[in-house]
């Protein structure tokens, strides 16, 4: 008994070692390229290659001096803000409908909602392009916002509904019976309690929109580039240190936002 349990323990520690090694490999595979991009963005050499030369912030300062980059950034921010606002409002309304009400075809509605998650972006891009063409609508920030909202809406709706599922409906009743009219109940009780879920949904929506490339590429095409489109157009001249710098910045912003969103979701 004693012997065999010692053996078992040894075997288990082997398995543990293997698992640890495997996990490390996966993370290296995932994050090494990203790490390299960040590293290169601080490298003096114009061509990204090892060994590294000297440390520099030159590419960043060049980036900030480039007016077209700033224009793309402003453009991205406007589009992300619009997408976030729209998809959070629609997502909140949808979540209330899904969680609080029974209606026919509810299962269908829920199913349809997640379809954008599995349709390739290319297909959505092409569909939207031909749809707008059919309507005779010219590509603009608004059409991009609508396209991004279609993409972000499943996330916002699902995140907010899961928060709403856990919401004790008695809280609203308690507030009502204490004298609060419906809008006060929503403002003073429902919103604060599900608020962290809504903020998380907003951060997700922002990140999705800010990083989106394919759909934007199809609909926007023309002059008003978003940051990812700007990167794409710079890429025609090969990978430059400016691109690395821009990628690093976008990456850090996305990381911060998503981490904040996850922290929000973990709040009670």
């Amino acid at each position: 008994m004693g012997l065999s349990s010692a053996k078992l323990q040894k075997e288990q520690s082997h398995i543990r070692g293997l698992l640890t090694g495997y996990t490390v490999l996966v993370y290296v595979f995932l994050f090494l390229p990203i790490f390299v991009v960040i590293l290169m963005s601080f490298n003096t050499a114009k061509i990204g290659a090892f060994p590294l030369d000297d440390f520099t912030l030159r590419w960043y300062s060049e980036l900030f001096r480039d007016k077209t980059v700033w224009a793309a950034l402003v453009n991205s921010i406007i589009i992300s803000a619009g997408t976030t606002l729209l998809s959070v409002i629609l997502g909140t309304l949808g979540a209330f409908a899904l969680v609080r009400h029974q209606f026919r075809l509810k299962a269908l509605f829920t199913g349809v909602l997640v379809i954008p998650l599995i349709i390739p972006g290319l297909i959505i891009g092409i569909s939207l392009l031909s749809f707008y063409h059919f309507l005779g609508v010219h590509p603009s920030r608004l059409t991009v916002i609508l396209g991004h909202t279609a993409l972000a809406l499943p996330y916002t709706t699902l995140v907010i509904s899961s928060r709403l599922e856990g919401f004790d409906i008695h809280l609203e009743e308690a507030a009502a019976i204490l004298g609060a009219p419906p809008w006060r109940v929503f403002y003073k009780v429902t919103l604060p309690v599900i608020g962290s879920g809504i903020i998380a949904a907003a951060l997700f929506a922002w990140t999705i929109s800010f990083d989106e490339f394919i759909i934007t590429f199809f609909i926007m095409g023309g002059a008003k580039k978003t940051l990812p489109l700007k990167i794409w157009s710079l890429l025609k001249f090969g990978i430059s240190p400016q691109i690395n710098a821009m990628s690093a910045l976008i990456l850090v912003a996305a990381l911060v936002l998503v981490t904040t969103a996850l922290a929000m979701l973990r709040r009670p």
Binding site: H170, L171, E173, A176, I177, L178, G179
Partner: protein, 358 residues
């Protein structure tokens, strides 16, 4: 009671959820300042009745009046009713102070009055130092007391409580029962309370309404319900009762004889002499054990088991006729000798303690 104003009146209220009839033709009145308890087994419609009065549900049929006013078109926030929920329903994002202040703020009470009243009511429920805590940092019992303070502080016209003391331990519950009752009497707040706990119902209520399957079996003061239950259900729901079922074999006025299925012959004196099967009940504490003068209705039996309850003892007795009864005896002195299982004893079922139920 008749001279008091009616605070709440339910007239033939019915509520169905699809196939389920949760509340079935319920009608009762509550006078101003009265404390009425709804008791009954799980799922009998107690919570639903409260929710109808609060306005969270609308009756399928019937009418609810508060201070004479029909509530059919009145939203919960306009009813001036307060409620203590079975699940407390404290606002998790607010401190204890803010929870209690909520109703006052919604009523537009000024800040000064709020900062005076909130601590006063928290003091009342013995939570003086807890103002800044969040509900998540309180025990179940403490949360329940915050919920109570939050409801009381608005001095509502009507207070609804759904198992308000359900999660408190025995000792705290006993204390709180009297405290809450005194407090409500002082404030003169009309109260409808729901409880599983029969002691709580007996201690706190002016009247008790016993519910079963959505309807009301009997309404009356605790003592009436306990002493004169109208049905087997009421007799067994509040306290223990011995049931003796049989038919009358002699029906002289003033002296009748009930012969049970097992052949036990009981003298009794009933206000009426119904035909067919009838049931008499007797409370365990009314049964005399080894009476000094054995008179009518004294039977020999063997103790099957003994249940020691501290201040009392219960004997489970099998009579020679085959009838089983429970007798309860006060233990008044440490030297009292208790009977043991297996022992033969005489027990007497006094005639005046036998009650006819339907």
């Amino acid at each position: 009671m008749t001279d008091k104003r009616v605070a709440v009146e339910l007239k033939a209220v019915t509520k169905t959820f699809g196939e389920v009839v949760a509340v079935d033709n319920v009608g009762f009145r509550v006078s101003e300042g009265e404390f009425i308890c709804l008791v009954g087994p799980s799922g009998c419609g107690k919570t639903t009745t409260l929710r109808l009065i609060a306005g969270f549900e609308y009756p399928t049929a019937g009418e609810i009046r508060i201070h004479g006013k029909d509530m059919a078109r009145v939203a919960p926030h306009r009813r001036n009713v307060a409620m203590v929920f079975q699940s407390y329903a404290l606002f998790p994002h607010m401190s204890v102070f803010e929870n209690v202040a909520f109703g006052l703020r919604e009523r537009g009470i000024d800040r000064k009055a709020i900062s005076r009243k909130v601590p006063q009511y928290l003091e009342m429920v013995q939570l003086g130092g807890y103002q800044e805590r969040k509900p998540g940092q309180l025990s179940g019992g403490q949360q329940q007391r915050v919920a109570l303070a939050r409801a009381l502080v608005v001095e509502p016209a009507l207070l609804l409580m759904d198992e308000p003391l359900g999660s408190l331990d025995r000792k705290l519950r006993d204390e709180m029962q009297l405290e809450v009752k005194t407090l409500l009497d002082e404030l003169g707040i009309t109260t409808i309370s729901v409880t599983h706990d029969q002691d709580e119902a007996l201690v706190m209520s002016d009247r008790i309404a016993v519910m079963k399957d959505g309807h009301i079996e009997q309404v009356g003061p605790p003592r009436d319900i306990y002493e004169y239950p109208e049905s087997v259900f009421c007799a067994t729901f509040l306290g223990i009762s011995n049931l003796l079922t049989g038919s009358l074999t002699r029906r002289d006025p003033g002296r009748m004889i009930l012969t049970t299925k097992e052949g036990l012959e009981l003298s009794c004196s009933l206000p009426e002499s119904p035909e067919g099967q009838i049931t008499l009940i007797i409370r365990p504490e009314r049964i005399l054990v080894n009476p000094s003068h054995s008179r009518e209705n004294t039977f020999r039996g063997r103790i099957e088991s003994v249940k020691y309850l501290g201040s009392e003892v219960e004997y489970y007795v099998l009579l020679l006729s085959g009838t089983r009864v429970v007798a309860r005896q006060q233990i008044s002195d440490a030297q009292d000798t208790l009977c043991r299982a297996g022992q033969e004893i005489d027990i007497q079922l006094p005639m005046q303690s036998l009650r006819l139920v339907s």
